[in-house]
């Protein structure tokens, strides 16, 4: 900074507060990760470095089971929501505004506006009667619920990408004898690719992290990783939870970093 004498944008105490906020934001997370490597059972005592808790978590059938279920649901929900969101994004962008478009926006963004607990309760009620009527108890309910609330998260980056796309490229393709389908296949889709990948990653993370809706919709023995962890927090706490949390955290951060790199490339 060139001018130390008088900076117009400097406000007293702001920098200190901001740096404290960053420290406080990361301190608990770092503590949590650090204690996943603590050989001692207690947080109060640092017993040296160990990977035991990761080994224990890995050997725990409940964790394995819940992880597999979480991944199954997240992959399915991400695929379904991204597919319908891609279609909806194509349907609602870059065409002359049509009657009902606002209704479609509101519907798609509805999961962002309604509190999770409300959706969770509504789904609990709805699925309870279906469960009674059909007798089906499987993962389908969770996949359906997750797919629905992931739609806006998949939709937004895809729509942003579409809107940032040069319309004249598709015009050029049509001019060069590409049929609408060929234009989509050879021009729109390849250019839309990063948006679709970003959307599906976001949907995946959102599904993987969900606690509330899953907690209400799941049938007995259908714990996902977050609901398993929530259940464990009621009971005794061991660094095993820290290990599981750290792994989930690492996965999320990796996906988000990739997401940011993907969406940033567009602006370059």
């Amino acid at each position: 900074m060139a001018n130390r004498a008088f900076s117009v944008s400097r406000l007293p105490g702001f920098t200190v507060t901001a740096l404290a906020v960053f420290a406080i934001l990361y301190l608990p997370i770092l503590t949590l990760v650090a204690y996943s490597f603590n050989a001692s059972q207690s947080v109060a005592v640092w017993g040296g470095l160990t990977l035991d808790w990761y080994g224990k978590a890995w050997a725990n059938d409940h964790v394995k089971d819940a992880t597999l279920r979480s991944l199954t649901i997240a992959v399915s929900a991400s695929l379904i929501s991204t597919t319908v969101a891609t279609l909806a994004a194509l349907g609602t962008t870059r065409r002359k505004p049509f009657k009902g478009q606002t209704f479609i926006y509101v519907m798609i963004n509805q999961p962002l506006m309604v509190p999770e607990i409300v959706t969770a309760v509504a789904l609990l009620i709805f699925f309870a009667s279906i469960k009674i009527a059909t007798g089906y108890q499987g993962l389908g309910y969770l996949i359906l619920a997750h797919s629905a609330f992931c739609v806006p998260f998949a939709y937004l980056p895809i729509r942003a990408r579409l809107e940032g796309m040069d319309f004249s490229l598709e015009t050029a393709a049509a001019d060069l004898y590409a049929s609408p389908w060929q234009t989509f296949r050879h021009v729109t889709l390849p250019l839309l690719g990063p948006g679709i990948i970003a959307g599906s990653m976001l949907a995946f993370v959102i599904s993987l992290d969900d606690v509330v809706i899953t907690e209400f919709v799941k049938s007995g023995g259908q714990d996902t990783l977050p609901t398993y962890m929530l259940g464990q927090m009621r009971r005794q706490l061991t660094p095993e939870i820290n290990a599981v949390s750290s792994m989930l955290l690492a996965l999320t951060v990796a996906l988000l970093t990739a997401f940011f790199l993907l969406t940033r490339k567009k602006t370059n």
Binding site: T31, A44, L87, I117, V118, F260
Partner: protein
Amino acid sequence: MANLEDRQDARSARNGWLLSTPALVLLALAAVGPLFIMLVYSFLVPGKYGNVEWGFSTDGWTGILFSRDIFDDTVKLADAHLTIFWRSIKLSLLTTIFTFAVGFPTAWFIATRPPRARPFWLFLITIPFWTNLLIRTYAINEVIRIEGLMNTILLKLGLITEPLRIIYTDFAVFIGMTYVYLPLMVLPMFAAIDRFDMRLLEAGYDLYATRWQILRRIILPVVKPGIIAGSILVFVPSLGAYVTPRVLGGGKQMMISNFIELQFGQGRNWPLGAALSMLLLVVVTIALLIYVRYANRETSHG
């Protein structure tokens, strides 16, 4: 025959609907539709072992504020319910105010970094924003519980002799919510400050304003839309918070979400749970509508 243009417009609109249909069906089935079923359930009679029996009743709705004595069947104001509502509102407001108090300087700090450093600081805020809420709540739990990091350090330093009992209090829930919802406050405020024309400050100082006057008379009014956005974004999920009060409140310091859950568990009063959910939905919708109206007015001015 309609002319070519009209037919093309009609086809475009039809394709728009057609392409959106799968998403609409999915959302109608697993997001919007069930809300209507829930509304119906709020007017039914609770079943003995949970669920409902078919029969019209407004008890679900009156049960929000009043309770019927099981012995003499008198109706009186349900103090326990009011305590829970008051706690929800109080903690949500406190969370909103406090996240603003520390979030504003943070957003300002990020927005005034050199352009090349800004994405880095923004990324630091965004990471917690997207990481699992349960994990972040658990991380706070690690710090503030009786044998947690904070007490350990304070005891070792000799600053306290007894561990502080913060966990499972309203204060713990407040700390937790402030921690998990802070990024929601910072991000929209950053967006507003980022658009702020710093030359206005030069003009302000040129016209003899002090730093405090600059803040109060120039910065805050100009970035107000960002402040409103951040406040709504923090207040709305705070009001519906479920995980944080459950983990840090220890099941006793219930907020409205936990109270709703109770009706579907031990409470066995689905209609009351449904009515409470509808109430929460209405409150949140009103908050969002105020925000939308306010935001629209701001943009039409600017």
